[in-house]
Amino acid sequence: MIKKIKATIFEKIIFVFLILLAIFALSFTIIIKNKCLFIKEINLQKINFEKPENIAILNVECGNVIIELYPELSPNAVKRFKKLIKSNTYNNVAFHRVIKNKLVQAGDIEFGKKNNLDYGKIGTGKSGLGTIKSEVDNEFDFKKGSVGLARSLKYDTEDSQFFIILEDEPLFEGEYTPIGKVIYGIEILYKIKYSHKSEYVLRPDFINTFKMLY
């Protein structure tokens, strides 16, 4: 006959503790894995845009980032940017250069496409549309969320690559062509994958889609 053994109070406490630990570990793993967990979704229907024709929607893993473009400030750069957006050229393009809490950069459509990623050349690609002149004469305060066209060390080498700054960069005025500003969803960009060792990211995050509102 098997003798029934009654659990002591101590054993019961240990058992409950182990159950709680397992629940905690599971929840923690889910939270850690889901980097977008606390990101609020933006309802575009509820927003009244003053100039809807200048609103671009950048969709990434954690949601939509709403950017207002400034054609009156940098007409040629915004024209180029809109052209690339409207032709869906930026879809599936990598955020190849990311500096934690400072800047995200994407738009290398030659070497940064998801199905054609070239780590050796990423950041040097061209759009095939040619370079455009820098538009840096107008005053522009490069505050957090500002969007600009990237260039090489020389002026007038802007093409398709763009950056969004995640903190104020007062020295950028006169250096880079401003094209717009994030008006909603900046917090989403802080979730873009970065590397602690380098500005260039191995297995980077990608733009899902980039569209104009109209």
């Binding site: 500096i99 400072k102 960069e169 007062p170 020295l171 950028f172 006169g174 250096e175």
Partner: protein, 234 residues
């Protein structure tokens, strides 16, 4: 005000390095009327081919004192003019040298930068600022400041040295009897001679004399500056 500025300026070394390729710099002052951006060395830095250019950081007192002097002098150049000559960043540091030779300043019109040695020759510090600024102008407008044309303004038997550092003619005292040159250093090479004429004009160190050579040199500099910016006033 300056204490506050030192405390509140955020670290921007990486951004600055990305823009002008000089490490260990921080922002000193950005809000200036002519849009010049003043930076200071927080730590010593080396740059250039084989790191042959070096400069040390200075102390807060020196930065504060010299910033006042530098900005007072450079405020006379308009935003429009500075954009035309491609000067935007002033880097303040001390013991500036190229290949071990001490120098007052290093102009780089490509990077839009003028590095200034804060401890260089107190007596002529202000004039030297304009001298170095002229090199920015000259380097970006070599076609305008034709050295062959300049050489012809001198007496036919006068010869410049082969380079500015391969001569012992480095005196910066202004001659009482000019005889075609403002200083001994003017006799080193044409571009230094031009820079000396420019800096003397800016600092009003020129008393009109019958020195025909010097008068022609002054006319040369004024005419060329007028071509760059017809609103420029000496």
């Amino acid at each position: 005000m300056f204490v506050l500025l030192f405390l509140t300026t955020t670290a921007k070394s990486n951004t600055i390095y990305n823009l002008i390729k000089i490490p260990n710099l921080e922002i000193y002052e950005l809000n200036t009327n002519n849009n010049l951006k003043y930076l200071y060395a927080k730590k010593p830095f080396t740059i250039g081919i084989q790191n042959n250019i070096s400069c040390d950081n200075s102390d807060k007192k020196t930065y504060d004192e010299k910033f006042k002097i530098i900005s007072k002098n450079l405020d006379r150049y308009s935003k429009k003019f500075l954009k035309k000559i491609n000067l935007k960043y002033i880097v303040m540091c001390e013991n500036l040298s190229i290949s071990g030779i001490n120098t007052a300043g290093i102009p780089d019109h490509v990077m839009k930068t003028l590095i200034v040695d804060l401890k260089f020759n107190k007596k002529y510090f202000e004039r030297v600022l304009h001298h170095e600024l002229f090199h920015i102008i000259n380097d970006g407008h070599k076609d305008l400041f034709d050295e062959d044309e300049w050489i012809k303004l001198n007496n036919i038997d006068f010869k410049y040295a082969k380079c500015s550092t391969c001569t012992k003619k480095i005196g910066l005292d202004t001659y009482e009897k000019t005889n075609g040159f403002f200083t001994e250093y003017s006799k080193s090479i044409p571009s230094e001679d031009m820079a000396e004429v420019f800096s003397h004009l800016i600092k009003n160190k020129y008393i009109n004399t019958n020195d025909i050579i010097l008068n022609n040199k002054i006319k040369f500099i004024k005419d060329r500056l007028n071509k760059i910016d017809d609103t420029f006033v000496f």
